[in-house]
């Protein structure tokens, strides 16, 4: 990268563009999370189940995010892998009130981590323990333990309890992700 462009980025005049992948089981709140990151005027009032995927853009601290909001429906989970290759970060949304399917979440997460396009890269993964407002929601610590996150050694990860309806906890999580990606990019340069 040329000296000038590097200079521009350091000063934060021009935004760096990054791709993030938003995955998780169906009905975990992925589209709602992404919807919350968008500008006020672009938000949609009604979220319907995503079929396939949808592309959304938002910004955080001078980083332009392109989020590939994937469908979490069982039928479409095989399609996530098509988008692993060129993403800079992963947002994994977990429905913390759905104890029953936590094993499914774990299985999907393991598959994701073992994928050749993921396993050898230092990709930051952000977990949202979503729906924290639900009565019987598990705490983020319990979820981290349930998913065996402590075994992830080669990738930076972070788990944040969130409520995507109100936006609680989202900002904190995405700020962590932004910082991580920024570090990776800077270290590459």
């Amino acid at each position: 990268m040329g000296l000038f462009t590097k200079f521009v980025y350091l000063l934060g005049v021009r935004k760096k563009e990054v791709n993030v992948l938003v995955v998780g089981l169906n009905n975990s709140g992925k589209s709602t999370v992404v919807n919350h990151f968008k500008n006020e005027e672009e938000r949609v009032s009604e979220i319907v189940p995503t079929v396939g995927f949808s592309v959304e853009r938002f910004q955080n601290q001078n980083l332009a995010f392109t989020a590939f909001d994937m469908s979490g429906h069982g039928r479409y989970r095989d399609l996530w892998e098509h988008y692993y290759k060129d993403c800079h970060g992963i947002i994994f949304v977990v429905d913390s009130s759905d104890r029953l399917r936590l094993v499914v979440v774990k299985e999907e997460l393991d598959l994701l981590l073992q994928h050749p396009d993921i396993c050898n890269r230092k990709l930051p993964i952000l977990f949202f323990a979503n729906k924290m407002d639900c009565k019987d929601a598990l705490s983020s610590v319990k979820i981290a333990a349930g998913l065996g996150l402590d075994k992830i050694m080669d990738k930076p990860w972070h788990i944040a309890a969130s409520n995507a309806l109100t936006g609680e906890g989202l900002q904190e999580g995405v700020e962590w992700l932004t910082q991580q990606i920024r570090d990776v990019i800077l270290s590459k340069n």
Binding site: E17, V51, G52, F53, S54, V55, L79, H82, Y83, D86
Partner: protein, 880 residues
């Protein structure tokens, strides 16, 4: 240097096509930039263009390649560039059928189609419908309904047309959008209205009543869009054809009122509809024709073309009405547009008088070399019609045709000329000599093998009966020297025919055949040796059986039988008698086919696969049923006989399949009651004396609106031929279970027995006889004299008033094939001889000669020769 030259050449050929040298692999490689984090819009658009270009050039992508490129393409959704996005839509549509998991873009597309950007919406709808399957349609149904009634006309149109395409996938879902479509019909936009009407009609077209209501409503509404009105006229015309009310119905009034519409398109459509209605009388035709006449003088070439083409079509059905336009058509002969001129002339030929033929032919000759092959074919067809109409003009027409034959032209064109000449030869004995001479000359310089073979075959059949058969032989032998093996082989066969028919030429033919035995091709040598050894025997009956008569069996059946024989070898020699005999198309069918093609300029699409005979079809079906396969080869299947009125509770039709000693009755039953489920459906027969029922194969289940088949196997009376003709009483028996009309599920498990009377079923003589084509009937007749039993009787057919009627009835009754065109009665004669040939089940040959005389009713002397005396007696006795 050479490389430089090639480059230069490519440059010249290319004509500046920037995409000329692109390759699939390179483009797929380039498509990887779609995966970049930052998208270069211009570059990606260009690559997508290349990809689309390749796909449209017929380049095939593998499923994996397509899926890979499809998923890279989906990443382009992050770009906001309008042009790129629209290219993506096109890419999705192209790849939707090849790539896997294309539903991945569903949400992205629904977002675009409901979004604010109008430029995206219509295209997104089209792309969405191309990736959606029946199961996914439910999830986008809501958006489609909204889109149909959208204010933006492009969006609405796209949704309507896409819905139309979706009806192929999920007709039931699309049916639910009928209210939205109804609303769209009221749109102000002309395209939306047209598309909405199209969809509405498509949804309702199976329901006659709904279509009638729709038409009644819309005809009163006065639609704004001329396209929609045209569509409505077509629907109305179809409705008029279907219902039997007179032409004073409001529907017809509507079409007629459209003749005064302000749009030319609508006026033409209305005129076209009126002239094409089957029942139009000349009075109703008049305004339509006068509209077309007006169009003939229009400055717009399209209108002139449309008008003259329609007139050309009507000229056959209503020649008198078209005569009124003759003056205008005369003017169009000199039209700068050759297509219009050709149609004008051929129309005139169809309507014109005998006196004007010469003049018109001269006119055509002046420009025939300038028009395309399709129009030349139209001209040729017009000449054929003319030749049949005015037999006396055959010399003029024949000369013209032979001149056309010498011109350049494609196979279809040449074949149509040869066909016409052959038709003229068959129809008009006077023209035979001249026609054959022209054909002889033509094959001297014919580059189409198939055509040359056909003509050689014809020469072999007809040539020996001309005054100077030796003239033809020279032409035929020239083929042996000059042509390719296929034509040479055909020429050898043709020569053998001469040898067999003309004894005085036999010696010369033998010399020629001996020369052919030195040929380099196997087939030619084989045929030459075969024929020369048969001709060497000097035995008339051998000639008849092995040279003059062609193979009677149906070719596909023969192929199948031989294959079976080679696969399961047995010690017995192959018996050709077991192969079903080919059915001969009736005169009506051939006429119909000819008529269909008449005067139409339609490209006929890819050639259809060879038609398998009906018997062949049935044979295959029947052999799959246990108990029927053992009966031996199928001999003949009768026409369909209806045993009930077509609109009753149960609709039953019967087909009689005749085997050597058995008859299988196939009953096709249709249940028309929606609240009944029938089980164990069978037909109980009350067979006439001598017949025994061997087996009944019931139809286990017959739900509403489905056709089921039940069979009865009977044995013909043994050693009692006269009783094989008989009438059976028939009763349909079944178990009824009442069921819910909507689901078709029975209410209870218990059913009750019921029966339904059917009309009586007849086994006739014709059912047991297969038609056989005898090319040389007289020879076969003479040959049969010593071997066969002859029976003769005289009858008076008092109910017949003309010879034609009598001939038609006899052929139908006996089920025999007329030979030597004796089924055509020359006009004005009071006596006629009808020659018939056929085969009785079990392979018994039958030859029948019926001498007819007309005096108060028709008197007939019937002579039957058959290898079996009982069969001959059966025929003479049943005729009475």
């Amino acid at each position: 240097m050479s490389a430089f030259k090639r480059d230069k050449k490519e440059e010249e050929d290319g004509g500046g096509n920037p995409f000329q040298n692109i390759e699939k692999t390179t483009v797929l490689q380039e498509a990887r930039v779609f995966n970049d984090t930052t998208i270069n819009n211009r570059k990606c658009t260009h690559i997508l263009t290349k990809l689309l270009y390749l796909l449209n050039q017929g380049e095939q992508l593998g499923t994996k390649e397509a899926t890979d490129v499809f998923f890279s393409m989906t990443k382009l959704f992050q770009s906001k560039d309008v042009i790129l996005r629209r290219m993506v839509y096109l890419g999705i549509k192209e790849l939707s059928s090849i790539a896997d998991d294309v539903i991945i873009v569903t949400s992205s597309l629904t977002k675009d189609m409901t979004g604010k950007e109008d430029l995206y919406r219509a295209a997104a709808i089209r792309a969405l419908c191309s990736i959606t399957d029946a199961t996914m349609l439910q999830s986008i149904e809501r958006y489609m309904k909204q889109a149909i009634v959208d204010r933006n006309s492009a969006v609405s149109s796209a949704a309507l047309v896409s819905s139309l395409h979706m009806t192929k996938l999920a007709p039931e879902v699309v049916k639910r959008w009928v209210n939205e479509a109804q609303e769209a019909v009221n749109s102000d936009n002309i395209m939306v209205q047209y598309h909405a009407l199209g969809l509405l009609y498509h949804i309702r077209k199976t329901d006659r009543l709904a279509v009638t209501k729709l038409v009644a409503k819309l005809t009163r509404m006065s639609l704004k869009s001329p396209y929609a009105v045209c569509m409505l006229i077509r629907i109305t015309a179809k409705l008029l054809e279907e219902e039997d009310s007179g032409n004073d119905s409001p529907l017809f009034e509507f079409i007629e009122s459209c003749l005064r519409h302000k749009s030319e398109m609508v006026v033409y459509e209305a005129a076209h509809a009126i002239v094409n209605l089957k029942r139009t009388t000349s009075r109703e035709l008049a305004p339509a024709i006068s509209v077309l006449q007006l169009f003939c003088g229009s400055p717009k070439p399209t209108l002139r073309f449309a008008a003259v083409r329609t007139l050309n079509q009507v000229a056959i059905s209503h020649p008198a009405a078209v005569t009124a336009c003759n003056l205008d058509l005369e003017n169009l002969i000199t039209d700068a547009n050759r297509s219009i001129a050709t149609l004008a002339i051929t129309t005139l030929l169809k309507t014109g008088a005998e006196s004007s033929v010469d003049r018109l032919m001269k006119q055509i000759a002046s420009f025939v070399s300038e028009i395309s092959d399709e129009f030349k074919v139209v001209v040729v067809q017009a000449i054929r019609a003319l030749a049949l109409k005015f037999p006396r003009k055959h010399s003029v027409l024949m000369n013209f045709l032979s001149a056309m034959l010498r011109d350049e032209g494609g196979l279809e064109y040449k074949a149509s000329i040869a066909d016409t000449i052959i038709t003229i030869i068959e129809d008009n004995p006077e023209a035979k000599e001249a026609g054959l001479a022209h054909l002889c000359e033509f094959i001297e310089d014919c580059e189409h093998t198939s055509l040359a073979v056909r003509i050689l075959h014809l020469l072999g059949k007809e040539g020996p009966r001309t005054k100077q058969p030796s003239r033809c032989i020279r032409f035929i032998y020239n083929r042996v020297i000059l042509e390719n093996p296929t034509v040479r082989a055909a020429a050898v066969s043709a020569m053998a025919q001469f040898g067999a028919t003309c004894p005085d030429l036999l010696e010369n033919i033998q010399v020629l055949l001996a020369r052919c035995q030195m040929d380099s091709d196997d087939e030619v040598r084989d045929r030459a040796t075969y024929y020369s050894s048969i001709l060497g025997q000097q035995d008339k009956s051998l000639y008849n059986n092995y040279i003059l008569e062609t193979l009677q069996v149906s070719i596909p059946s023969l192929e199948r039988s031989l294959k079976e024989y080679t696969q399961s070898p047995s010690d017995q020699p192959f018996d050709i008698k077991t192969v079903p005999i080919a059915t001969i198309p009736t005169r009506e069918e051939t006429e119909l086919e000819k008529h269909k093609a008449e005067g139409m300029i339609i490209s006929n699409g890819p050639a259809k696969p060879a038609v398998v005979s009906r018997e062949e079809n049935f044979a295959e079906k029947l052999s799959a049923i246990p108990g029927i396969a053992e009966l031996g080869p199928l001999f003949k299947s009768s026409d369909v006989v209806e045993l009930t009125e077509s609109e009753t509770e149960y609709f039953v039709r019967c087909i009689k399949h005749c085997f050597t000693n058995h008859v299988v009755l196939q009953f096709d039953c249709l249940n028309t009651l929606s609240d009944q489920l029938l089980e164990e459906v069978r037909v109980q027969l009350d067979p006439s004396e001598g017949y025994s029922v061997l087996k009944e194969i019931p139809c286990p289940k017959l739900p509403y609106n489905e056709t089921g088949t039940t069979y009865v196997v009977l044995r013909f009376p043994e050693n009692d031929l006269p009783n094989s003709v008989g009438t059976f009483g028939a009763v349909l028996k079944f178990i009824v279970k009442d069921c819910d009309p909507n689901t078709g599920l029975p209410d209870t498990d218990e059913g009750y027995d019921d029966e339904y009377m059917l009309e009586d079923l007849e086994i006739t003589l014709g059912d047991q006889i297969q038609k056989i084509n005898k090319a040389n009937w007289a020879a076969a007749w003479d040959e049969a004299a010593p071997l066969c039993v002859e029976m003769e009787d005289t009858y008076s057919l008092s109910s017949m008033s003309t010879l034609e009627e009598a001939v038609k009835n006899i052929i139908q009754f006996l089920g025999l094939q007329p030979a030597e065109r004796s089924d055509k009665v020359p006009e004005g004669k009071t006596t006629h001889t009808l020659l018939l040939a056929g085969m009785f089940r079990g392979g018994i040959d039958i030859l029948v000669r019926a001498k007819l005389a007309l005096a108060d009713g028709v008197t007939m002397q019937l002579t039957v020769r058959s290898t079996d005396g009982d069969v001959a007696e059966l025929i003479t006795s049943t005729v009475g």
